[in-house]
């Protein structure tokens, strides 16, 4: 049984979450504030924590900071504040995921499953890709070049991650479409050329002489250093 600790001052919600996750096979303990949460964490050593952001006394951020001083236990933040700045703040303090209220319990269970899976593999590094000054955080969905943040659309981000995961290999436009948009769009390879062109405008210091994404004419695209063939 997986030990789950819920730290939230909303008694109604913690009661329902306890019932739900007990039914899912978790060993649940719920407490109503950060102080009690820290005590419960020392006593029980839970395998995962659900932590509310807005609480009296010690709020979620403060509690998370204290948790991270002593433990790497996966923490999912629960909050009614869905602003991007809040989400980034949560991740910067070491949260593993962030769920906005109102959420469905099934969705939360799926997120917990994913976080526990990642934690078991110890795969924090898998969330990050980097090459020659370009850094990608897959969990945060953020990209930096030489430390400067870049703004990509979700599809551009997916395209970049796909290319980086196959760094050094030539990927045909058809395969790229399949991976990024889905197999049903494989015939529409015209998209790829335009997407790559726009992606270069955003990520390359000099799009005319690309550093990251190269064309291998007649074959496809290749991510990584080296001359364009």
């Amino acid at each position: 049984m997986t030990d789950l600790l819920i730290i939230d001052d909303d008694k109604g919600l913690t009661q329902l979450l306890s019932d739900y996750f007990s039914g899912q096979g978790y060993n649940v303990r719920a407490v109503e504030n950060g102080k009690l949460g820290l005590r419960a964490m020392y006593e029980r050593q839970p395998e995962i924590i659900l932590l509310d952001v807005t609480m009296p006394e010690k709020d979620g951020w403060e509690t998370l900071k204290r948790i991270r001083e002593v433990s790497n236990v996966p923490v999912i933040m629960l909050t009614a504040r869905g602003d991007e700045a809040d989400i980034l703040h949560g991740f910067s303090l070491g949260a593993d995921d962030y769920v906005n209220k109102p959420f469905s319990f099934a969705q939360l269970a799926a997120r917990m499953h994913a976080v526990l899976g990642r934690s078991a593999q110890g795969s924090a590094a898998d969330n990050k890709l980097s090459s020659d000054g370009l850094e990608v955080d897959i969990r945060l969905k953020r990209v930096w070049r030489d430390g400067q943040p870049l703004t990509l659309t979700p599809t551009e981000f997916k395209l970049l991650v796909t290319l980086m995961r196959h760094a050094g290999d030539v990927i045909s436009p058809r395969d790229l479409v399949k991976e990024v948009w889905g197999a049903q769009y494989a015939s529409e390879i015209g998209h790829v050329r335009r997407y790559v062109w726009h992606l270069r405008q955003k990520i390359e210091p000099d799009p005319e002489n690309p550093r990251y994404i190269h064309n291998d004419r007649g074959f496809g695209y290749r991510f990584g250093s080296g001359e364009t063939k």
Binding site: G12, L17, A80, K101, S104, F105, T153, R194, W197
Partner: protein
Amino acid sequence: MKTNILARVKGLVRRWWSWLLDLDVLQWALPLFLAVTAITFELIEHVPQNELDDPYFMGEIIIFGLMGPLIIRGLIVWMQQLLAAQKRAAAEVQALNRDLESKVIERTAALEQRNAELDRLNRELRDLDEMKSDFVALVSHELRAPLTALNGGLELALQSSENLPPRSRAILEIMEEESKRLTDFVQTILDVSRLEAGKFAITLGPVAVRPLVEQAAAIVLASSQRKVEWDITPNLPPIWGDETYLEQTVRNFISNADKYSPADKPIQLCACMDGDRIRISVKDYGPGISSEMSERIFSRFSRLQSAESSPPGWGLGLYLGRKLIEAQNGGIGFVSPVWEHNGIKSGSEFYILMPVAQTPEDDLE
């Protein structure tokens, strides 16, 4: 001493000269001088010849000694009148200028006062708007926490719905449906307040049209039996826009079309070039948009139908859609009615017009 006397004489001459040039003096002095000169000249000319009885002498005295000076005097009086009229006109112009200047100063002051008043009112309005947005955000946040418990409780109760009496199950299902609707509403209110507070970040990039429309339809119509007719031009170039908010707007169009169309009628999803832009539209077989509704359809809290029997909604989706599309330099609109059958007009078509993503010219495969 000599220089001093010379200077005094010069000053005296200058004073006399300027006094003589004064028209009030000149009008008498000049005719008098001319009369005396002319008579003297005539006397010098005719007395030695003893021609004092000569009619020519008398005539010359009258013409040169009297008429000439009188004409000069008349001319000077006329000039004086002209000068007086000019002075009066200049004085009037000056007075008008002064009047105008004081009026301009007065009006400017009034305008400045009104501007200050407008500034103050604008500030108050902005403050009020911010307060409203803060209030809406606060209320929405406060609603989100209890909604989580409400949705979660219903989810939990319906997990083993087969063990529930049919009536209880039906009630819980209705509650779940309504709770989801309330959740959507709270989310939309939050989106609108964020948008109005300028907190929506638009990320522009290329957006492939077919995947966008198909994905939007798949999400909205996932649990619907609605038939869809597709009319998407093959190989359309990508749009230049924000894919998340574009999809949100298209989803709203599809959701409205689904809500307002009779169950047995399809909805049409179209995408094509329209001039140099791409047009994505959703056509339905609903009742169409009334003329009084058409003017405020993209305003806040404007429902497509307001009757009690009309489908549920909050009248914020199209308003949010307009704001989102305008923020991406796109256009949004509708056409209604679209169909005519046996003289009965119906249906509406909601569309967006978006710019095409720039085409790479020399990027060869």
